[in-house]
Amino acid sequence: MTTPIEVRNLTKRYDTVTALADISFSVQTGEIMGFLGPNGAGKTTTLRILTGMIGPTSGSVLVDGLDVTERTLEVRRRIGYLPETVVLYPELRVREYLDYRSRIKGVGRRTRAARIAEVLAQCALEDVTRKLIGRLSKGYRQRVALADCLLAQPNILILDEPTIGLDPHQIRQTRELITSLGQTTTVLLSTHILPEVEMTCQRVAIIDKGRIVAVDTPERLRQRLQGSQLVHVQLRGDASAIEAALKQLPGVARVTAQGHANGLAAFEVQANTGADVREAIFRLAVERQWALLQLAPTQVSLEDVFIHLTTQEQESVVANQEPAHV
């Protein structure tokens, strides 16, 4: 059996900008793979190459063993693609739109009506079949686009940020739908939201600045980073002096200031893999006469993996706001 998606040494350049630098990964049959990275990391570019919308500068993409640039139409027939920004013809009604899409996707005339009824049910759209797309809420439009994805019964689904801009209730419904689809279909799910990956994906590829920085299961990525220690420290003393001293300690990889008030300063200290920095911190505190008020190891989440791998602090703020369990 061939691999549903195989990306080999893919590079995409725009003039001087390198959007993708030699990325490789594959998605196996039946798995839901997360494609995780901050905005602008190259996720959408990769997916557009996968769907044959744009061509690569070098490297290749095989979908079910077919080269995307050579057999674009055959590849597109096998893929259900949900673009990041869902804009559908506003003047068409929902059923009318799906009928149009099923025709251009080559769904047979006899099965067309049945297929449309099926996807309408799958995406809970039965109530709005006669509504104009332009009048629908964003959540409904997203579902219409998802229904469109499923029309031709593709073996592979490529979803670009499918829950972006939805309310918590819709997000949960969408994730449930993706999970249930993942039982029969191979899914590549692009997102910058970490809980989404932890909840729905069996494997995850992390991309940053056009490079794949890790490909693993969410659990293994967590373990990989648990090898290196992350501790919360709270000390009484001059914040900048403490920060400088902490950074000097052997085995410390990174120190993040977490604010200070009333002479108390809080930090997050990341140790090098295998190193235990707790004793060193304790000795430092004694030596410099800073009262040590807290020294606690942190449970490492995928969010931290992500920050560690990409050091995009801003992204973690966005991701933290995302409700983990809604």
Binding site: T45, M53, I54, G55, T85, V87, E91, Y100, I104, G106
Partner: protein, 248 residues
């Protein structure tokens, strides 16, 4: 074929479901009605040169004919690619299992069918006239064919300019300017003394072509001219949208 037809009907729907269709259609019919009224006045005037025929007057004989062609075609095509690119619906189109050729052809067919339908709305004029006076249908048929041929070329131009920009207004202005330039080639004839140059200009002159069509002459030279123009413009459009820079 199913896909091409589905794409074409979508184009037609985009036109007929929009208010532009009714504004354009309304103005168009108003102009043509005016032309018809003038035509009746001319036919009733004994001082008019009897060699002037009804169809020569209706097809290309008045300013209003050219005005409706030159203005209507950019309005029909300005939306085609610009709007899809501006809103982002193009991504759904270009990732569907259809070829670029099908997409371009469907855009063209959609606009052309809408244009043909607009002109078909003027058919009742002739049916009405027929009840009062006998005339030869031949020149009427060739007149319509000529009008549809000119339209095809101008619409293809408009689709090309629409593929160049994501702004509908710019697309309309660009195609309008291109169409005016093409149209004015024929007007240049007055200034050219050289017989060879004059012949070339007559070959390129839209007005000259229409004069022949409205006399009932179906010449292959203008036919080839318009078919080539249409093909070239559509081919160029295909090149534009195949450009990776355009697509991303």
């Amino acid at each position: 074929m199913t896909a091409l037809w589905a794409l074409t009907t979508r184009e037609l729907k985009a036109f007929w479901y929009s208010p532009i269709a009714y504004v354009v259609g309304g103005v168009f019919l108003l102009l043509q009605g005016w032309v018809f009224w003038l035509l009746l006045a001319v036919l009733n005037d004994p001082r008019v040169d009897p060699s002037w025929t009804m169809t020569q007057f209706f097809f290309g004989g008045t300013f209003f004919y050219w005005f409706s062609i030159l203005v209507v075609t950019p309005l029909l095509t300005m939306r085609t690619f610009s709007e899809e690119k501006r809103t982002g619906t193009i991504e759904f189109l270009l990732t569907a299992p259809v070829t670029d050729t099908q997409v371009v052809l469907a855009k063209f067919l959609g606009a052309w069918i809408a244009y043909i339908m607009l002109w078909a709305l003027t058919l009742p004029f002739f049916l009405l006239l027929r009840t009062f006076t006998p005339f030869d249908w031949g020149p009427v048929v060739t007149g319509y064919v000529g009008t549809w041929l000119v339209g095809a070329a101008l619409l293809a131009f408009g689709i090309f300019t629409s593929s160049l920009t994501r702004n509908q207004v710019i697309a309309a202005v660009l195609s309008f300017v291109a169409i005016i330039l093409l149209f004015s080639i024929g007007v240049l004839d007055v200034f050219v003394r050289d017989p060879e140059g004059s012949r070339l200009i007559q070959y390129l002159s839209l007005m000259e072509h229409l004069r022949a069509f409205s006399k009932g002459i179906l010449d292959t030279r203008p036919l080839i001219f318009y078919v080539s123009l249409t093909t070239i413009a559509l081919f160029l459009t295909g090149r534009v949208i195949a450009n990776p820079r355009w697509r991303s």
